[in-house]
């Protein structure tokens, strides 16, 4: 049951009646009785909400920040229903307006649609559907809730996809369609074709030219069908919020963006991508990942307040990757790596090539540049100490043959992709 503003208005009119006409307790009782009678009458005549049935349709996944539509159909087996309907979602589902006026004829059904613009990645679950059915006088209403489950998966936004066209352009340059490229260690023979002006003379195949009437050049293509294993650290350090151009995002989200760009690029380069999310146990695992499967797998991942289990991840990678592969570990360069991951590197590095990508914090760099007063200088010293630790770690890892990409959140996806391309060009996969 619910009252409406009209009930309040009626009670206010009662003030005039009591004040001017019937200034007595009897007057008050009379007004109260009239009010009560109207409320009871309205409640009796309002359509029931208990017997309503609901069905849903519409989007089940949407890229974070974009709009999708979820439809809700109300079936009314009873009297004509007039009132308000609220389809409740958590705030981060970004429902533009979750309450709508509804009017469902007796025995009929109506469909209302709600626009969702999720502001945060993850599964957004609908809460209850509540209907307030007004009586004919509009003084009181019956109200009830129904559970109509629906989940919209907000996918990672993949902001860095704008970097993809120039990266693909670079990939094509590596490809044999351009004979001007110098044959490198990481290329394999593709085909022979006629020389055109502009081709590198060093790529002319003299033997083949001798056999044919034209000058023939060899074309090369980069190595293919290599394996790239992307390991995403979802442990405590990935919960750190770092401010970039898109505002404060957890390291995890930036790492995901970088992983998505890398996997998009790798699949264009016809490499096989395996994805693994790991904290103290496997959170998600996608072998032979394609981009749509990958974003679905990433969407519900959240950072956990547990320590990253380096031994576990090494065992897991060694178990999965049968042949030599590029293992890209998206984590944070913290001193804990020195005790956790470093002793295990020989086992991993003997079979695979390891690349560590880390989101560095612009706030720390800003603090390191602070001067002027004592507080800033102490902050600068603390920041410099952290930066020195990172430099030390990078050097230590490099000594073990590990590549490190340590970049600001806005630059990391591009920097990681560039490093992948240069590794590919050098044939180090």
């Amino acid at each position: 049951m619910a009252l409406t503003g009209r009930a309040g208005l009626l009670a206010l009119i009662g003030v005039l009646v009591v004040g001017l006409l019937l200034p007595s307790w009897q007057g008050i009782l009379l007004v109260l009785a009239v009010l009560l009678a109207c409320v009871v009458l309205d409640l009796l005549l309002a359509a029931g909400v208990r017997r309503l049935t609901f069905t849903r349709a519409g989007a089940t996944s949407v890229r974070t920040g974009e709009v999708c539509v979820v439809e809700l159909t109300v079936h009314n087996p009873g009297r004509r229903l007039r009132g308000v309907l609220r389809d409740a979602w958590a705030p981060s589902a970004g429902v533009v307006s979750d309450r709508v006026p509804v009017e469902v004829p007796a025995g009929g059904s109506r469909t209302v649609s709600f626009e969702l613009r999720p502001v945060r990645r993850g599964d957004r679950v609908s809460d209850r559907v509540t209907v307030r059915s007004l009586g004919p006088l509009g003084i009181a209403a019956r109200q009830g809730s129904h559970v109509v489950p629906w989940t919209v998966r907000a996918l990672p936004p993949f902001h860095s996809r704008r970097h993809l066209p120039p990266l693909l352009e670079r990939l094509r340059e590596l490809d044999g369609r351009r004979a001007s490229l110098i044959r490198g260690a990481g290329t394999e023979f593709d085909s022979l074709r006629a020389y055109v002006i502009g081709d590198d003379v060093r790529s002319i195949d003299w033997r083949a030219s001798a056999r044919s009437s034209d000058v023939v050049v060899r074309t090369w293509r980069p190595e293919r069908d290599r394996q790239v294993t992307i390991v995403l650290d979802t442990a405590r350090t990935s919960a750190g919020r770092v401010h970039g151009a898109l505002g404060g995002l957890p390291r995890l989200d930036t790492s995901m963006d970088a992983a998505l760009l890398l996997s998009a690029l790798a699949s264009h380069a016809r490499d096989q991508v395996d994805f693994l999310a790991f904290s103290h146990k496997v959170r998600a695992s996608v072998p032979r990942a394609t981009l749509p499967v990958l974003v679905q797998a990433m969407a519900p991942l959240e950072a956990e307040l547990v320590e990253f289990d380096a031994r576990g991840v090494v065992v897991e990678v060694l178990r999965r990757a049968g042949r030599r592969s590029l293992v890209v570990l998206l984590t944070s360069l913290e001193p804990s790596i020195e005790h956790g991951l470093l002793p295990l590197l020989p086992a991993l590095a003997s079979r695979h090539r390891l690349l560590i990508a880390s989101v560095s914090d612009p706030a720390v760099h800003a603090m390191a540049a602070g001067r002027g007063d004592l507080e800033s200088v102490y902050a600068a010293a603390a920041a410099e100490r952290v930066l020195a630790e990172r430099r030390h770690l990078t050097a230590l890892l490099a000594r073990h043959g590990v590549d490190v990409v340590d970049a600001l959140p806005d630059d990391l996806p591009r920097a990681l992709a560039d490093r992948y391309l240069s590794l590919k060009a050098a044939g180090k996969l």
Partner: protein, 343 residues
């Protein structure tokens, strides 16, 4: 970065305004109290020693065996003298009831005067006050059976009306025959009820609810009911509140900031200085094309106008620095780095 707990300086800055206002209020109150002087009671108060008070006449009456009862709400007046200092403040019906029950009533400047009169020394001119003789009289002129002092003191039955209260005050009691007249008026019986009505006389007070018309009262009750109905309307939610499952997010730089505050609290200037020196060396060494860990002092001195010794002292000195020295050191390290980058 900012410490949230306020220090002494901040507390003083925030509190000095209110504190100043408090001191001013206290000072003003003390000054006003001192200037107003001591002594309680107003005019014609038998407890008051002030010139316009009446302690003297009350004391005289007690010496003559009259019991003086000061009240602002008389009830038992039977057989007593009733002295009403301000009869105009009292409900007339109640006043006439009181004066009927009292053995004698003295009203000071009541309503119903026929004229005004100058306050001066007048002759009695009637048997009633002939013993007292000349006295300070005036104020108002009344009609009555016995008229004295040019009709400024009249008596009708047991009720005496007097135009001016000068004869009862400490100031004028010793003048002329004032004391005798006051004693003869107030000391007629063994008991004197000294009625000093206040503006908020309880006897004629009505409660606020008695004064409000019924329509307003019951209207207010109905208004309360309306407020409850409106509250019920507004309080009813359309479905429950949906909680937001929030992910774990912490500021990544929080630990660095915490460490900076620890440095500052423990005045770890020596440690901070060595970290800053190390950082500058680490940045300059690759810039100068030297292998990591190499001493860049010589190369720096070669490219700038500084001497090798100065640069080495700046980059490697182990001498302790104080807080101020640390700020200067940071600036100096920056200056060297900028010079090298420009060169």
């Amino acid at each position: 970065m900012t410490a949230v707990s306020p220090d002494a300086g901040r507390i003083w800055t925030a509190a000095r305004g209110p504190l100043l206002i408090g001191v001013i209020i206290l000072f003003t109150a003390v000054v006003i109290t001192l200037l107003r002087g001591s002594g309680e009671g107003g005019s014609l108060d038998p407890r008051s020693f002030r010139p316009e008070g009446s302690h003297a006449v009350a004391r005289l009456l007690e010496q003559n065996g009259v019991r003086v009862e000061l009240t602002d709400n008389p009830s038992a007046v039977d057989g007593a003298t009733l002295f009403v200092a301000q009869p105009n403040l009292i409900d007339p019906a109640r006043l006439s009831d009181l004066s009927r029950r009292a053995a004698a009533t003295v009203l000071l400047a009541p309503a119903g005067a026929t004229a005004k009169a100058e306050v001066e020394t007048r002759q009695p001119g009637c048997p009633l006050a002939s013993k007292a003789g000349a006295a300070t009289a005036g104020g108002f002129v009344y009609e009555g059976e016995q008229r004295c002092y040019d009709s400024t003191l009249v008596r009708t039955g047991t009720v005496t009306m007097i135009g001016h209260g000068g004869i009862f005050t400490n100031r004028s009691l010793d003048e002329e025959g004032n004391a005798a007249l006051a004693l003869s008026l107030l000391g007629q019986h063994e008991r004197l009820v000294w009625y000093l009505p206040s503006a908020a006389d309880r006897s004629q007070q009505k409660s606020l609810t008695d004064l409000i018309p019924d329509g307003w009262k019951f209207g207010a009750v109905q208004l309360g009911i309306a407020a409850v109905v409106i509250a019920l309307w507004r309080a009813r939610r359309l479905g429950r509140v949906v909680p937001e499952p929030l992910p774990v997010i912490v500021r990544a730089a929080e630990t660095v900031e915490g460490r900076a505050r620890l440095y500052r609290r423990s005045h770890a200037s020596a440690h901070a200085a060595s970290v800053l020196r190390q950082a500058t060396r680490d940045r300059l060494t690759p810039l100068l094309g030297l292998p990591p860990g190499e001493d860049p002092s010589f190369e720096i001195a070669r490219r700038t106008s500084r001497s090798v010794g100065d640069v080495r002292a700046l980059l490697y000195s182990e001498e302790p620095v104080d807080d101020r020295g640390l700020v200067a050191l940071a600036d100096e390290l920056d200056a060297v780095e900028n010079e090298v980058r420009k060169a």
